[in-house]
Symmetry: C2
Subunit: 457 residues, 2 copies
């Protein structure tokens, strides 16, 4: 497919949006087509994301389905859902007909159950329909959910010349040829070949003589994240997908993996910031509240817990009220250390670079906490003594508490993600507000217990 890209980078300006809106209003279809045909489909999708629903639907119905199918793929998920609701099942099926099987399956899987069946029944190409239905059966977070059926395969018994002739037909269907997969008579993957290898080889050679017999592949049920790791580690641009009998089912290309990586990184980032669900700044207040409020409630219950602890100690604290002033310091330090420790562990787990035994790692965090704790305690000692005129024992209390709390927070921040990971739970949830809140409570409790021990109230 020829992609017409301009060298001048596309810029989404207010002017451009206004121009498109004016042309739609005046129903200047010809001018609109002429204007939009100059843009890449990803850029048109950017424009559509800025328009009203009615305007977006107008453009989707105006342009030819080859372009609009690609545009639909690039739209924001929310906007795509709305646009699709305004198209008939037949219209959606026409769009689907233009897409590769993986993209087609992705769009259909977003539709409500009944709509799904209607759209599938309208797909005219029977092979395409069967392939899409096959893909719909796989979990979207597995290799099967990512793969496309489009690929170029040859039999090991073919010659180079015969191969080139035959793959000309197959290649027309495939947007980009990464590797040519070599299969045996039972359609089992036995090796691979690049187009380059084929061109460099002599035309009378047998495929069996030139193919590369070992080829990395993933099982159709493998986890999408694991596929991403394999492709990234071995710098692969496409990987074939096989079933349990090594039969070739499809292939996954790097652009889909880039999307998986990006989503994964954004999810982890949001979890660390205390946001569940995939939200964007432009989502509605209701959606943002749903994603944010639960974490705030966790923090709130932590705050109530802290209030209970303080209230209990306050009555016996008569002579040492200055200690209350340092609660925020203890709390903030515990929170910060915990988040740091957990973030490093979560990232290490994601990269499979956490090894060795747990005890050794906890010992290291202990030492790290001790070093950081001593440094901070020393500064606080000077400030509290000279600026807050704390007594010797009060200063001792604050400093011992700081060091203890930092060590405790580092250990909790290290232990919880590793513990969750061993139980098969995504360690990324153990960052942000979750770890901060637990460290807040334990930190404040530890502070008052140390105060009680040292000051003896």
């Amino acid at each position: 497919m020829a992609e017409e890209l301009d060298n001048i980078p596309f810029e989404l300006t207010e002017d451009l949006i206004n121009q498109v809106e004016r042309l739609i209003e005046l129903k200047q279809d010809k001018a609109l087509q002429k204007l939009l045909n100059d843009f890449h489909h990803a850029d048109i999708a950017d424009i559509l994301d800025e328009l009203d629903l009615a305007e977006a639907v107008y453009i989707i119905k105006l342009l030819d389905s080859e372009t609009t199918a690609d545009i639909l793929m690039e739209l924001d998920e929310d906007n795509r859902e709305k646009v699709l609701r305004n198209l008939s099942s037949k219209e959606i099926a026409d769009e689907i007909g233009e897409l590769d099987t993986d993209d087609a399956a992705d769009i259909i899987s977003e539709l409500p159950e009944e709509r799904k069946r209607e759209v599938i029944s309208h797909i005219e190409d029977e092979d395409h329909k069967a392939e899409i239905q096959e893909l719909l059966a796989y979990d979207e977070d597995t290799a099967g959910g990512l793969m496309a059926k489009e690929l170029v395969k040859v039999y090991e018994t073919w010659t180079v010349a015969g191969c080139l002739r035959r793959i000309r037909g197959q290649a027309k269907e495939v947007t980009r040829v990464h590797s040519i997969y070599v299969v045996d008579k039972q359609n089992r993957l036995v090796g691979r070949l690049s187009l380059k290898d084929l061109i460099v080889a002599k035309s009378e050679q047998k495929i069996a003589d030139i193919y590369i017999s070992s080829v990395d592949s993933v099982n159709v049920h493998d986890d999408a994240e694991d596929v991403a790791k394999v492709m990234q580690k071995y710098d692969l641009e496409a990987i074939p997908v096989v079933d349990n009998n090594q039969k070739l089912l499809g292939r996954i290309t790097i652009d889909d993996i880039v999307d998986v990586m990006k989503e994964e990184a954004e999810k982890d980032y949001q979890l660390a910031a205390g946001i569940t669900a995939d939200v964007e700044a432009d989502d509605s207040i209701w959606e943002l509240t749903k994603a944010r409020l639960p974490w705030l409630l966790i923090g709130m219950f932590g705050g109530i817990g802290a209030a209970t602890i303080i209230t209990n100690f306050q009555s016996v604290l008569n002579d040492y009220k200055i200690l209350l002033s340092f609660v925020p310091l203890i709390q903030a330090t515990a929170g910060n250390v915990g988040v740091q420790s957990s973030a490093i562990i979560v990232q290490g787990l994601a990269n499979d670079s956490i090894d060795g035994n747990l005890l050794k790692r906890l010992l290291k965090e202990f030492l790290l906490g001790l070093v950081n704790g001593l440094a901070i305690a020393f500064i606080v000692l000077l400030i509290s003594h000279f600026a807050f005129h704390t007594t010797y024992l009060e200063s001792l209390t604050i400093c011992v508490a700081l060091i203890s709390v930092i060590i405790m927070a580092a250990l909790i921040g290290t232990f919880i993600p590793i513990f969750l990971d061993k139980r098969g739970i995504d360690a990324a949830v153990a960052t942000g507000p979750f770890i901060t809140t637990s460290n807040d409570i334990f930190g404040i409790l530890l502070y008052f217990l140390i105060a009680k021990a040292i000051l003896g109230f």
Copy 2:
């Protein structure tokens, strides 16, 4: 290059490491070579990362430089540095000779200045040397710093048959052929062609008749992150790099972009967690302290600020001491809301999806804060009244403060990243401890000011 990959996923086991160590100790070179030759270079790098330096150097010197060059590229940066220090400049130059120009330049750029010159002087292939020197001149965070000189280019005047014949030579040098770039006599990029297009075309056709005349390209001085965005948006697997006169200088492939994206995501994640510099769980305590302590100090000064505020109000708070118990709640809520708001903005800025005017966005955050604030204040009202027996005015104080603090934190968390971004500063620094600390102080101050206004002390 034929990559021999096993279908059985590689697993880095204790047993395997022990086996390798034993073979090194016994100097069983043949057995060692036989064992390691079965593995992909990325897997051998994983093994080396687990060995002692002497053992790693032993293996690097044992295996042929074609393999070891690739292994070096995959090693942890710290380990690579150590291994390189144990190789002579001549040995490094031999490794470099096996690498593509982009990887070669990356490795050389990590060496100390004098070592750099020595290694370059030892590179035998004069063309390779000149190309590497050209690449070393570019900033590593630009397109020039990412690109490789290896690419397949053809002149528009050639025929398909002549083209196929000639690119056979060029293609041998290039690991993977993504696109064939079409240039005019002045070496200016005029279009592109895929190997597939070439194979599907008739052999007597002119390149000028079949090439795709628009081709996306980036300028050699473009920012690496912008290149990543373009390639991701348009699903490109390679992009040509040109100078200001449109002359073709090199190409960037998606695997390098995947690395850029990954580093970027990890950096943002670490900044949000209050960790500067790129550290891993396995780094030394000293390195981890350097990355973590500065942020803890920011938090510490915040805590001292909070202590000052509380100490000042404590003396006039006689009858309302219960309010002190709720300081952690106010603080934790302000911190959590601020991190949520800033994370959404930082992510939106990274995706270029933040548009519209600042006032509208702040108004939205205001409403969002109001909704979340009312929800949390209502629950806290019930709990404080029934569990903490606060008076009517005390409850009012706590709830009004909670709502105000949430709104304030949401506004600060939204405003600061946008402000920094407009000033050209990476907004990602405005997350984590930075935003938490400022919200802590402002939150506690606001709390006591509201208390003063309502309770009139």
